[in-house]
């Protein structure tokens, strides 16, 4: 998703390509904030002006999400503040605790019906309870460095991602610390119809006309699968390149689960 970025004397600000009224099909204030934090030099940041405006509770703490997905450190005593507009999908970084004067972003036309359908779908999804296979909150927390930050384990001379427990010698593989590339190559892809989508996506898939998934290879060796985002006007191709961004994955049990999605370069 291309976004709208403005830096002025008050600070740095960002809104989605859809304008300040919508953060996109799988975006919200947190995903916009991560994008903004990754566009400016890192430091320490306070979330005290930000957290209360989030629509849903994240399954992994905000601090963990931000510190894993960006190079910023969260410190409530920091003088750099993360802000968000209370009514609009605009985020900002300033050096004041006072609400900033938000710049004006372009309003981009988007279909009201689609927007509302997706918003309602997210609401329903988050309030739902799995009646079959699901990934627990604990597992999301355990794997957050890999899921949100593309950190890989080192096992002798190779990188391992997603994380594993023991190697073939029966030795425990250490916690993930090595950063995988931010780009990867598409080995294959598919677009799943709404009818075939997993239950986690069954509400939104019909609105979006299905979900697309790519299987990619990182230059360091590991392979992985990722859902595609922002592919409304483009189709993937084998040997094409993707980058990654944190987006909403799905909601369940009152929590929003975030993870990396692939964006076609």
């Amino acid at each position: 998703m291309s976004s709208q970025f403005i830096s002025n004397d008050d600070g740095s600000f960002l809104a989605s390509q859809y304008g300040p009224h919508w953060a996109g099909p799988d975006g919200d204030r947190l995903t916009l904030a991560i994008r903004l934090l990754n566009q400016v030099p890192p430091g320490e940041i306070s979330l005290q002006c930000f957290e209360e405006y989030l629509e849903f509770t994240s399954s992994v703490s905000l601090q963990a999400v931000i510190e894993t997905a960006t190079n910023w450190k969260v410190n409530e005593k920091a003088t750099t503040m993360l802000h968000t507009h209370s009514d609009e999908f605009i985020v900002g970084i300033t050096s004041s605790i006072e609400p900033p004067t938000y710049p004006t972003f372009d309003n981009v036309e988007s279909d009201d019906g689609t927007r509302n359908d997706l918003r309602n779908s997210w609401q329903e999804e988050v309030s739902g309870v799995s009646q079959g296979a699901y990934v627990s909150q604990a597992q999301h927390m355990i794997a957050s460095a890999s899921r949100l930050g593309l950190r890989a384990q080192t096992d002798k001379d190779r990188l391992v991602w997603p994380p594993r427990q023991l190697n073939g010698a029966g030795e425990r593989i250490q916690e993930p610390t090595e950063q995988l590339s931010k780009l990867a190559t598409i080995l294959t892809w598919t677009r799943l119809s709404a009818a075939g989508a997993p239950s986690e996506f069954s509400g939104r898939a019909p609105i979006l006309g299905g979900v697309s998934t790519v299987l990619v290879e990182f230059e360091e060796g590991p392979k992985g699968v990722f859902m595609l985002a922002d592919d409304e006007s483009k189709s993937p191709e084998i040997d094409g390149t993707v980058r990654f961004e944190v987006r909403r994955l799905y909601g369940q049990d009152g929590l929003m689960h975030y993870g990396l999605k692939a964006i076609l370069c």
Binding site: Q131, A133, V135, L192, P198, S202, L215, G224, V225, F226
Partner: protein, 389 residues
């Protein structure tokens, strides 16, 4: 070492079955028992292995004890075997090993799944339950998606197109048309199969097996008992199994199933035969691309030539060196997950004894093979059966 004979086999019709778990299992055992030629009764059974993913909403725990209780086998040593869609393939292997090891002489292996009594919304929660839940599922994948990834990569690596998969679909529907126990008994034209609703690009509806209810069971005995029960035992000559990474992205190759290759090697070795000796094979065509890969991994076609094998019609009944999926396969006969593996063995039992519908009979069938895969290839069991010991 003890040799293992199959002396009875039975199954329900696969499809939307009116009975529940207990009723379907009872029907299966009734048919298996009645297929034994002389003097067999359920109380003869010493051990039972029942494959099931417990998809249905009836009895999730201790399913095996409930089923044997309702089929005249109360008191038998029984357990459920779960290895996704390969559950009863592994139940069959466990039964074979129980007799081989000398621990039991009379063993039932079977499988069951009730899939069509769940509401659509509840069924969704179970879709892809045997894939990699944490990484694949959360990337939007259920099994149509996983196999679609494989198919697209296969087309990229080899001289093959979606048309080759259409040939698989047309063949299996043709084979299943005359099969009285098949779920989808309808022939499909090439053009219709080619233009089906896109489920997971490039796989259409006609590349995907149906969601079926069903149960199946076989009765295995030690060699010294075989002729007590029948004059025409079918010998389980070889058994092999293997496993692989659960997730496709962790595997070295996206277009080969290492679990199948390893299982086949072991099965051929224990049977003392090669792929070229096999007359008919029931392979796990949950998606048409899976049959293409299976023909290669089992050794019927060379690497990268599975598409051509299908295109040239080499697996058609009585047309090539080996008939692939004479029953219609999962594509037409149906795929009641836990019941599929032993359902394949039921077909081989009947084919080798010349007991199928005459128009479906594979000519001069002496050696048959079953190939049962769990998930997208995480587990696999291969068995080889023969008329001669």
């Amino acid at each position: 070492m003890v040799d293992v004979a199959m002396v009875g086999a039975g199954q329900t019709k696969f499809g939307n079955h009116p009975l529940g778990l207990k009723g379907m299992w009872a029907e299966t055992i009734e048919k298996a028992v009645s297929s034994v030629d002389h003097g067999f009764q359920p109380t003869d059974v010493e051990e039972a292995f029942i494959g099931s993913i417990a998809f249905g909403g009836s009895q999730l725990g201790n399913t095996a004890a409930l089923l044997t209780e309702h089929s005249g086998m109360e008191g038998v040593s029984v357990r459920r075997v779960e290895n996704a869609c390969a559950s009863s393939g592994f139940a069959l292997r466990d039964a074979w090993m129980a007799i081989k090891s000398g621990q039991a002489d009379i063993v039932v292996a079977g499988g069951i799944e009730k899939m069509n009594d769940l509401s659509t919304s509840r069924k969704r929660y179970w879709l892809g339950v045997s894939g990699d839940t944490e990484w694949e599922r959360l990337a939007g994948l259920t099994f149509p998606g996983t196999y679609a990834l494989t198919a697209r990569r296969y087309f990229h690596e080899f001289d093959s197109t979606h048309d080759d998969l259409v040939h698989v679909s047309v063949k299996n529907h043709m084979h299943g048309f005359e099969n009285q126990v098949a779920h989808l008994r309808k022939e499909v034209s090439f053009d219709k199969a080619k233009s089906g609703f896109m489920v997971a690009d490039p796989l259409t509806l006609y590349d995907c097996c149906p969601t079926s209810d069903g149960a199946s069971a076989v009765i295995l005995v030690a060699d010294h008992l075989a002729h007590k029960f029948t004059d025409t035992p079918i010998w389980v000559k070889g058994s092999g199994a293997g496993s692989d990474h659960l997730a496709l992205h962790d595997r070295p190759s996206l277009t080969q199933l290492r679990a199948t290759q390893n299982a086949a090697l072991k099965a051929y070795k224990t049977a003392g035969v090669t792929a070229g000796d096999i007359d008919l094979a029931e392979v796990h065509d949950c998606f048409t691309i899976a049959e293409v890969l299976a023909t290669e991994d089992l050794g019927f076609a060379g690497r990268g030539l599975g598409g051509r094998f299908a295109r040239e019609g080499q697996g058609r009944r009585n047309e090539g060196s080996v008939t692939i999926n004479a029953s219609g396969g999962l594509k037409s006969k149906g795929h009641p997950l836990g019941a599929t593996g032993t359902g394949q063995a039921v077909e081989i039992f009947k084919q080798l004894r010349h007991q199928v519908e005459p128009e479906r009979q594979v000519r001069d069938a002496e050696l048959g093979l079953t190939h049962n895969v769990g998930g997208s290839g995480a587990t696999c069991a291969v068995h080889i059966f023969g008329r001669e010991r």
